[in-house]
């Protein structure tokens, strides 16, 4: 019997959790749980991604003790260093660095597939089991089911007026990547049913539609700020939102290759895509969801995202889509400041 009580943490949405599910374990995307990250400065350094620092302090404080293992991805410079620092200062039974290529061509896909096989082998070896192809295919199928359900809700969110509040959908989505699968499925299913019901009743006033596009976000603060300012958030292009749920894994054939292809495919974050590709993907969302304005947001010190912001922002604005750029510190400690800027942005859009 597989031990379903074991939990494996991961940090980046480019880690295919299907492999962890196939091992009979629970994948948990690790979120930072503290409001004070200054301890991290002593281990990492101040000008580093606030998500990384928060997660690291959470681990130092014992907040990841329930994890039997953690999987890092070669996602960015900060994550590479957190892997080194975690190995040195946090006691975790199984620590693995997954080689996620920075390229996404066929060579990179083939290489990534080989690394996913290595990951499956290492996970199995660490916990005295072997991940079988049938189990992986089953995990892929179940994850497709979860994602399809969310994609159905996303499709409903293309309607205007918006069926479900963006903040509510975002929180339901977060549960899928941080909690037990069954609970998450139930939550998303409830949202879906309500969205369908609301869709049929209609009658709500149309509001300004905002796309929130950025990297990692584990709190709904920005959604709440936008909604409190009188706008809707029909789409969220985030690692912890559509970038997780919009992944399409093909069934049949080599499951590792299918996973590699899907995870290196769209939707991309700035770590894997060029500014031009990010702009093209953002344009598609703007069109599909009838977006009136885009809030580009980034964690502070995220080089990948910060480098893309000027290009995306300038082009979207030139094409007639207003853009607001907001940096955040992961905990949204500057909430009041953000509120003022969001309110002003929405006021302009309402004119």
């Amino acid at each position: 019997m597989r031990d379903t009580s074991k939990k494996i943490g991961y940090f980046c949405s480019l880690v295919p959790e299907e492999i962890i599910v196939a091992a009979g374990m629970q994948p948990v995307r690790v979120a930072g749980k503290t409001d004070a990250v200054s301890t991290a400065d002593a281990y990492l350094y101040p000008n580093l991604c606030p998500y990384i620092k928060n997660v690291f302090v959470t681990a130092l404080d014992g907040g990841t003790k329930d994890l039997d293992g953690v999987v890092f991805a070669r996602s960015c410079d900060g994550m590479r260093r957190m892997y080194d620092t975690w190995k040195a200062y946090v006691n975790t039974e199984f620590i693995y660095m997954l080689e996620v290529p920075k390229n996404k061509d066929e060579q990179a896909i083939q290489y990534y597939a080989s690394q996913l096989r290595d990951f499956a082998g290492s996970l199995g070896q660490a916990f005295g089991m072997k991940i079988k192809t049938e189990a992986l295919n089953k995990a892929i199928k179940s994850t497709i089911g979860l994602r399809r359900l969310m994609q159905s809700v996303y499709d409903l969110q293309k309607k205007s007026p918006l069926p479900v509040k963006g903040s509510e959908l975002f929180e339901a989505g977060l549960s899928a990547i941080g909690e037990d699968r069954k609970i998450a499925l139930e939550k998303i299913n409830n949202v879906y049913k309500r969205a369908k019901a609301i869709e049929s009743t209609k009658g709500k006033a149309k509001k300004v539609r905002i796309l929130i596009s950025g990297n990692v976000m584990d709190r709904p603060d920005l959604f709440n700020i936008v909604e409190e300012a009188g706008a809707d958030v029909p789409a969220a292009d985030l690692c912890t939102a559509s970038r997780y749920f919009d992944r399409r894994v093909e069934e049949g054939g080599d499951p590792y290759l299918a996973l590699a292809r899907a995870y290196l495919g769209a939707p991309h974050c700035s770590r894997t895509a060029t500014p031009g590709e990010r702009l093209a993907e953002t344009r598609e969302i703007v069109k599909a969801y009838s977006i009136d304005g885009v809030i580009l947001t980034s964690l502070k010190f995220c080089d990948c995202h910060l480098h893309d912001i000027p290009y995306i922002s300038k082009n979207l604005t030139a094409e007639g889509t207003p853009v607001l750029f907001l940096e955040n510190d992961y905990t949204f400690s500057n909430r009041s400041q953000l509120k003022t800027r969001v309110e002003a942005f929405i006021e302009i859009l309402n004119q």
Binding site: L44, N47, R80, R81, A88, S114, Q115, D303, L306, Y311
Partner: protein, 403 residues
């Protein structure tokens, strides 16, 4: 504007070399020439990373390599005020001041029309995310494809094959660009030349253990950053042999200033004018080694060109887990009779700065004094001479106490 700086730089160096032919001057002349060549109309200009891309491959094609990081960040050396104005242009465009000043300066130069043509833009996934993202942004502005040589953390069969296959794809791009097929004999020859240069370099590295050693401080840092530009070219071996000869002569003369403290410099050295050298001179501190100045790669195998160039990339101290970098640092500690280690921490260099604690702890266990010197490579707004003096003098006291 940049082209004029490069021409002035080259003519100044040539005059100096004529008066006093020194290998260190010659290597900087070669650097200036490479910048000037990038403005020529009759050559294909390939943007790349001098310090991380296997340059033997470009040497085999005879293209003009151009590194936007190195080329634009020469500017703060001559004109730090103007460099800030150029960075301001990038910041006005939306490039955050939290991004590396090296990259803000390069983007600013592009926006002001100072950069040469780019026929092909290729870079490496290491050292940092910032370099490859800047390459992408510049490629986007130029309407060109950006090519990224992706070098994994792990050093195993799959990684070697993956990097090798990417190098072969890059060769196809170069063939398309130049209209000529790769001459495999020429590549083998470039690798042989590179191996000869490596042997000459090893002699220099051996001499560096002698106390006092003449070729120190910024020279040694520049050597490891600029040296690879010439990989695959005869001039690289010649320069290293000249350095060996000059060093031997100086050592044998017995007239060198005594070294009080020998330090290893980690990460990068500022390109903007600083008071570091002056403080070192006053206190007889010598940087005798840089972590990239260590001969970290073995002989390249010309019979398996792509594989050996892939391995060269994978062995870089900034690739892989921190253990790879640390073992290199430990080797230098063991071999170079050091009194201390200084990590220059430019605030946007995440991959290097986020390892400071790990390096510091490892050095603590070895009993080697270690300090983090915060500053900025090229943005004078983020550099304090007073703070640098305070921190360095304190560190010198620590080293003195251990003597």
């Amino acid at each position: 504007m940049l082209k004029k700086y490069y021409k002035d730089m080259k003519s100044g160096l040539e005059a100096s070399y004529k008066q006093k032919p020194r290998a260190g001057t010659r290597i900087t002349m070669e650097l200036a020439s490479s910048f000037i060549d990038a403005f020529r109309e009759d050559v294909k200009v390939v943007w790349t990373s001098y310090y991380s891309f296997p340059m033997e491959l470009l040497a085999a094609f005879g293209v003009a390599p151009f590194d936007f990081e190195i080329a634009t960040n020469i500017l703060p050396t001559f004109d730090p005020g103007r460099s800030v104005n150029i960075m301001n242009r990038a910041e006005e465009e939306g490039y955050s001041t939290d991004l590396c000043s090296f990259h803000r300066l390069a983007v600013g130069c592009y926006l002001l029309g100072y950069l040469p043509r780019a026929d092909l833009l290729l870079t490496t996934s290491y050292y940092c995310d910032g370099k490859s993202k800047t390459n992408q942004a510049l490629a986007q502005y130029y309407g060109k494809e950006s090519i990224n040589l992706d070098v994994p953390n792990k050093k195993n069969r799959e990684s070697i094959d993956y990097v090798s296959s990417q190098l072969k794809s890059i060769v196809h791009k170069l063939e398309e660009l130049t209209g000529q097929k790769l001459d495999e004999d020429r590549l083998r020859e470039c690798i042989k030349i590179s191996n000869r240069a490596r042997r000459a370099y090893s002699q220099l590295a051996e001499l560096q253990k002698v106390k006092p050693f003449p070729y120190i401080n910024i020279n040694i840092i520049n050597l490891c950053i600029f040296g690879n530009l010439l990989a695959g070219k005869e001039v690289q071996e010649q320069i290293y042999l000249d350095m060996v000869k000059e060093s031997r002569e100086k050592i044998e003369s017995g007239k060198l200033t005594p070294e009080q403290y020998r330090v290893l410099w980690l990460a990068w050295y500022p390109t903007q004018p600083t008071n570091i050298n002056e403080i070192f001179r006053k206190n007889s501190v010598s940087i005798v080694m840089g972590e990239l100045a260590r001969n970290f790669w073995g002989e390249l195998d010309e019979q398996h060109s792509f594989e050996s160039l892939a391995l060269w990339c994978l062995k870089n101290p900034f690739v892989g887990p921190i253990g790879q970098r640390l073992s290199g640092i430990m080797q230098i500690v063991d071999e170079y009779n050091l009194d201390g280690i200084i990590h220059f921490s430019t605030d946007a260099c995440r991959h290097s700065c986020a390892a400071q604690r790990l390096i510091g702890d490892a050095m603590g266990k070895r009993g080697v004094p270690f300090m983090v010197l915060e500053g900025d490579m090229s943005d004078k707004r983020k550099y304090s001479a007073e703070r640098t003096q305070f921190l360095l003098e304190n560190f010198i006291e620590v080293m003195a106490a251990r003597k």
